[in-house]
């Protein structure tokens, strides 16, 4: 095939993904004095971070002075069922407050306490009210702040540009190749260091809070480039997504509803979460309604309401209630805040939720309960990174945010995502810049790799007849939803892997009509490759882990098993196949272990 024409851009660091982690990484790298390119799959400011609602977890201690990084660290580790990379969880808890204050210096306006400090709200799994927030649109505030700060830092922004392959020189990553959405032309980025900040994989499921972009691009780019992935079996199903009408199924309903006093009820009007308190959390969870209600105002003398157990627990409980026939008319449960808080308070604290239910479901949440059910929301697993530098197991490749694994263990606490983006986004930018400064030798990209990537991109136009990319995507989503959902077992996972294999075959025959200019059929066809890769990784890891923990529940292995609590499931790409192994978790130092002895 003749040489493809392409434009080339060269930077010290390129950041792929422009949500919270990518923007924060780009800002930090630019501040280190290197040249930075920021590649966004969509327009700047539209990344999934805007969807984050509840807040940023940081032990500022503004509402509860008793709070500090040790408590936050402990909550995070326990929420992740101790499978977290302890060093990441420690850095996260220690640095989150400074990252929040920094956002404020850049113009973010969080809701205030009476004495003018940053107000913090309750969220699941957090011992104290800890989430800095702006009503229920915290992610929007965060991304706008980073965006408007970022555009004055000399960063080159490449919008509507999708990366399909990383480029390697020997054992190190030296750039990336992709295409412009608008023109369909191939573009090459030469870079001494690459930061992945591409978010998650939620588009592989049918009921999801994730947008079209969440096709696991960064996960698969890293995987194909030889990096390790860990914890891919752990997928978070957020307990509260909308369930009705069908067209909005999966859209997120913030945990802030429960943080601000809302409770879950079944069709009998019972607050069923009291029946689902696991032993692991018995000591810190209220076992009666009176204590649970008192807890909102007095956290010292009361235990937390079970409505705010970590998300994995709540999602499983809702699943069980619906299966037992105690669900709402459209297959969810009820989330009631209208009988518990005044209408003005609800509208002030939860304006987007009010708006969303009113406009999309015709439900007034100040007067009627919401109908909610689990929705695929977040992947805990991702690129295995060094905690301090965020460098992957491949030289020159860094990862931050949802695409990185380890920070959240088997289950992420609400509010820990936005803080993760800031803490590790900054670290990724810093260390990628340092790496680029110390880069030795010439920065050379291999034309053959570029040519191959370009050929793969254009292949769907050249096949005749064949498959519709949307049909394959939808069958994959159905497969993952039914066979790799909240509750899993061996026969179903094996069946899922078989089906994914068949879908991979069919994806090789996908044909797209039309031309390369802004052609969503083609974009969907190209996204299929990464979507299928991450779906396979997730199913393979889920089959490997024969226990139940956090965002991975096996009804054929229903208990948490201590031996499994000491290992990560690690995936590597070898000879075109997924290679699985179990590797020990990093050992937590004694002084941190002591934090878990104090109170059970």
């Amino acid at each position: 095939m003749a040489n493809h024409e392409y434009e080339t851009h060269e930077h010290d660091v390129i950041v792929i993904g422009a949500g919270g982690a990518g923007l924060r990484a780009a800002i930090e790298a630019a501040a280190s004095g290197v040249s930075v390119g920021l590649v966004c799959k969509s327009l700047l400011g539209k990344a999934h971070t805007v969807m984050a609602e509840g807040g940023i977890a940081a032990a500022l201690g503004n509402v509860w002075p008793e709070d500090n990084w040790q408590v936050h660290f402990r909550d995070t580790m326990r929420g992740g069922k101790m499978l977290n990379n302890w060093r990441m969880a420690q850095l996260h808890a220690q640095e989150a407050p400074e990252r929040v204050l920094e956002l404020e210096r850049w113009g973010a306006l969080f809701d205030r306490t009476k004495d003018g400090r940053i107000l913090q709200r309750d969220f699941g799994g957090h011992r104290y009210a800890r989430l800095a927030h702006v009503g229920d649109r915290t992610g929007l505030e965060m991304i706008r702040t980073l965006q408007y700060h970022g555009i004055h830092q000399g960063i080159d922004v490449y919008m509507e540009c999708t990366i399909t392959r990383l480029l390697k020189d020997g054992d190190r990553v030296v750039g990336a190749v992709g295409y412009w959405r608008e023109s369909g032309k191939v573009v090459v980025f030469k870079a001494k260091a690459v930061v992945l900040a591409t978010g998650g994989i939620g588009k592989a499921w049918k009921i999801t809070s994730n947008s079209w972009e969440y096709t696991g691009d960064g996960h698969s780019l890293a995987f194909w480039a030889g990096a390790d992935l860990i914890d891919m079996e752990f997928v978070q199903f957020h307990p509260t997504g909308m369930v009705w009408p069908p067209s909005v199924r999966g859209i997120l309903v913030t945990e802030g509803v429960r943080g601000d006093g809302g409770t879950l009820k079944n069709s009998e009007g019972k607050r069923f979460m009291f029946n689902y308190i696991p032993d692991f959390f018995k000591g810190e969870t209220a076992d009666n309604e009176e204590e649970a209600d008192r807890w909102y105002a007095d956290k010292k003398n009361n235990r937390r309401t079970p409505d705010l157990l970590p998300r994995d627990e709540v999602a499983r409980a809702i699943n069980s209630e619906v299966k037992a026939g105690r669900g709402s008319p459209h297959g969810g449960v009820f989330l009631d805040i209208c009988t518990r808080r005044p209408a003005d308070y609800i509208r002030k604290r939860l304006p987007s939720m009010y708006h969303q239910f009113k406009e999309l479901a015709g439900v007034d949440i100040t007067a009627e309960p919401m109908e909610v059910g689990p929705t695929c929301h977040y992947v805990m697993g991702g690129v295995r990174v060094d905690a301090d530098t965020t460098q992957s197991t491949v030289k020159g490749l860094f990862a931050a945010g949802e695409v990185a694994g380890g920070m959240h263990g088997s289950n992420r606490l609400g509010g820990n995502s936005l803080s993760d983006l800031l803490v590790f986004g900054r670290r990724a930018g810093l260390h990628a810049a340092l790496y680029a400064k110390n880069y030795s030798g010439a920065l050379a990209v291999d034309t053959a790799q570029i040519e191959q990537a370009a050929r793969q991109m254009l292949a769907p136009f050249e096949r005749s007849g064949g498959e519709n990319p949307y049909a394959i995507q939808s069958e994959l989503q159905e497969t993952m939803q039914t066979l790799v959902g909240i509750i899993r077992n061996e026969p179903e996972l094996k069946e899922a892997i078989k089906r994914i294999e068949r879908l991979k075959e069919r994806a090789r025959k996908v044909h797209v009509d039309g031309h390369r200019q802004y052609n969503p059929g083609w974009h969907t066809a190209l996204d299929l490759e990464s979507l299928l890769a991450v779906a396979e990784c997730s199913a393979v890891a889920a089959l490997e882990r024969k226990e139940s923990r956090g965002g991975h529940t096996r009804d054929d292995h229903p208990y948490t098993d201590d031996t499994w609590g000491k290992v990560n499931v690690v995936l590597r790409f070898k000879d075109g196949r997924v290679e699985v192994s179990r590797e020990p978790l990093p050992e937590m130092p004694a002084e941190l272990k002591a934090l878990f002895q104090e109170r059970k």
């Binding site: 969807m51 850049w106 205030r112 400090r117 069908p246 067209s247 519709n468 200019q517």
Partner: protein, 252 residues
């Protein structure tokens, strides 16, 4: 279930027109769902921009039956059954393909706006701000950058030549938000708003406010206070006082 008749604007570059599609509906559908169904089953290459599908990212702006709206927040039930519904790209920006336009104008204007220059924090490294002092700015921060206000603004909608000298409602509320920010110390933003952002061209017809999906009071809370600030900073109040007296004397 009803069958919808959709007239979707299709084409690219210079040539385009409405193409009719018949789509089987489901309960509770929004316009974006119907567009997606066309895309998946009848026209794989139908170009449309979208992300969150929940009214939070502001990507899926279009003109539906001639009115600027977010496709993801416009329910099909809003329209009379059986009547065709037209979906066209937002017209104020250069057209790329089908429902997609080139909105880079907005990103250029964003970069030109003088950013926040915060005062130093309190000795403990943090800031104190009272909720009542930030309520109004938080209203502006609700902006999802859908650019519907920019699309409907007649200063630029039919006057390409004004784009050079006019930033548009989105950036007036951005400027107002920065100007009213308790931490900001800049003094040059009003001059920018007057000379570079062209606020004088706005004659407060409130079209922007009417189409805002976040219901931000763009005109009353943003543009008018900015205009007042421009008047205060650039027109000496004493001179104006004399001028007014003079005219009164003349009329009596």
């Amino acid at each position: 279930m009803p069958t919808f008749t959709m007239h979707v604007f299709r084409g690219e570059g210079r040539t385009g027109g409405f193409t009719e599609y018949k789509v089987e509906g489901d309960p509770g559908m929004v316009v974006l769902d119907v567009i997606h169904r066309i895309q998946a089953t009848q026209a794989n290459d139908l170009a449309v921009r979208w992300n969150c599908k929940a009214g939070k990212c502001g990507s899926c702006s279009a003109e539906i039956n001639g009115k600027p709206r977010l496709m993801c927040m416009t329910r099909m039930e809003l329209f009379k059954e059986g009547q065709p519904i037209t979906v066209a790209p937002i017209r104020t920006f250069p057209w790329i393909r089908d429902l997609v336009t080139d909105v880079s104008y907005n990103y250029e204007k964003a970069r030109q706006l003088p950013p926040l220059r915060p005062k130093p924090p309190e000795p403990d490294g943090t800031y104190r701000m009272m909720q009542e002092d930030i309520d109004r700015i938080q209203e502006f921060h609700k902006c999802i950058e859908c650019f519907l206000c920019q699309d409907v603004c007649h200063v630029i909608r039919d006057h390409e030549e004004n784009k050079k000298v006019f930033a548009g409602p989105r950036f007036f509320i951005k400027a107002a938000g920065l100007d009213m920010h308790p931490l900001d110390t800049r003094t040059d933003r009003t001059e920018f708003v007057k000379n570079s952002a062209g606020i004088g061209l706005c004659n407060i017809t409130k079209c922007c406010t009417e189409v805002c999906p976040e219901h931000i009071h763009i005109t009353d809370n943003g543009i008018i206070p900015l205009k007042e600030r421009v008047a205060d900073d650039f027109y000496d109040p004493l001179t104006r006082l004399f001028r007014r007296r003079g005219s009164r004397t003349e009329s009596t």
